[in-house]
Symmetry: D2
Subunit: 140 residues, 4 copies
């Protein structure tokens, strides 16, 4: 309840980093989301503010992200937003993470050939994850 | 303002129907979205209600949908929801359409190989669409 | 998982109907959600398509809706969308329901004086509801 | 296009600060959004991560927020998320702002008496704002 669920459309900004942890595969990458506004008077699109997020993909989704995504590819990501504050070495850091539930290539930008992964049931492992795992284990 | 934007995760339920209209390419398909609930006592997932939507993809997105999607593939769709009521032949019909902004294969279910489409700028044609097109021309 | 969660901003179109059921209070009303588009050339807003939903509010939320909402008031509603199809008397009916999680008056349209309700914990009753209740008991 | 729109349900964490700027009224406050998870085994709710946002309300919405909201009241907020990074005095700061489109008291927590504000048309001023205003003028 009261989860902050977001759907964002942007570009993969860093090569996904992949780790096999005891809790299962995890992939993470930075995502750049640039708002665009249409200027009807000039008939052009203008870029607005860019939001950067760290996207985390776990288990089946993590393994498939590793096998599918490359830098600069356009994607849609749905997941839970986590805004974090911490003090490290006297410095104040905040980060905006998305714990992804679904990620897909943006077909408004290109075509995609899909291959279903049969081994393992993403739903079951996600359920296991939701109950057993810390939500933000460091990847590396 | 006050658009009803939705993001749904489900399965392509019918083969996309593709048409080249004067206003540009249009693809449409039926999407099945089944809620699933985790039963922590039995440790199983149960299927809940299934929502069906007619998804419309226009211009570059429509052409790429036609080149990329097949029946039963898992997808994430973001777009504007339109609930319609009409009287036809003495019958009362309501339909739930989604005018898609972005569609992608669900990488929690499999892998995808993406190829960027360079000809034409989807953003510009979408802008043109937003201004010039009726929002719900029949496809066929 | 895969719930179709929507947030809509619109106007209460019918007086809320309130019932005390064995499962707890339930209020329902029709909501009109009209998209508006800004025409930058003419510098005016134009009305677009109107979506109608039947909004269901249960338990504490239902009782507070009954005490707070009147026809024509502007509201924001977040909840689960359910599109239903049925055959009744040889007629085909579809409806678009929202099972509301949160409802509030839209403060971009006016002011509101809030009074917290202490008796009963909405969270607990919602949890009970999620586990024990059919999701769509008829109200009327 | 590609705006990061979020809907969050949480509690007002600081008294709204109100300013009359040349561009119109602006109110801002901190919002605490705590995810809650139901533990079906223990039959209890557990608090999860808390996200903090700075919410900005402009023009009519800003004036009505000032007249309506107090610390600790439960609200639903819909708006555009802006994640910002900056360097200030050798320190690295990130903040998560929401540029609110709609705010309302959460009726699952209490009742509200609404009074429509007639002077001025929020829609028009929002449109004016979208075109003429810097998106993040400091309040102060």
């Amino acid at each position: 309840m009261n989860e902050t669920t977001v759907t964002v459309v942007g570009n993969v900004a860093t090569t996904p980093v992949y780790r096999e942890l005891p809790s299962g595969p995890v992939a993470r990458f930075r995502l750049a989301v640039t708002a665009r506004h249409f200027d009807a008077v000039k008939n052009t699109w203008n870029d607005g503010h860019t939001n950067f997020f760290t996207v985390w993909a776990r288990r089946t989704l993590g393994a498939n992200v590793q096998a599918s995504l490359a830098v600069d590819e356009p994607v849609i990501v749905q997941g839970r937003l986590k805004v974090r504050d911490e003090e490290r070495g006297g410095q104040h850091w905040t980060s905006a993470d998305i714990d992804a539930q679904t990620i897909g290539h943006d077909l408004s930008r290109g075509t995609a050939a899909f291959r279903r992964v049969l081994k393992g049931d993403g739903s079951l492992t996600q359920a296991a994850s939701a109950r057993e795992q810390p939500e933000s284990e460091p990847v590396g």
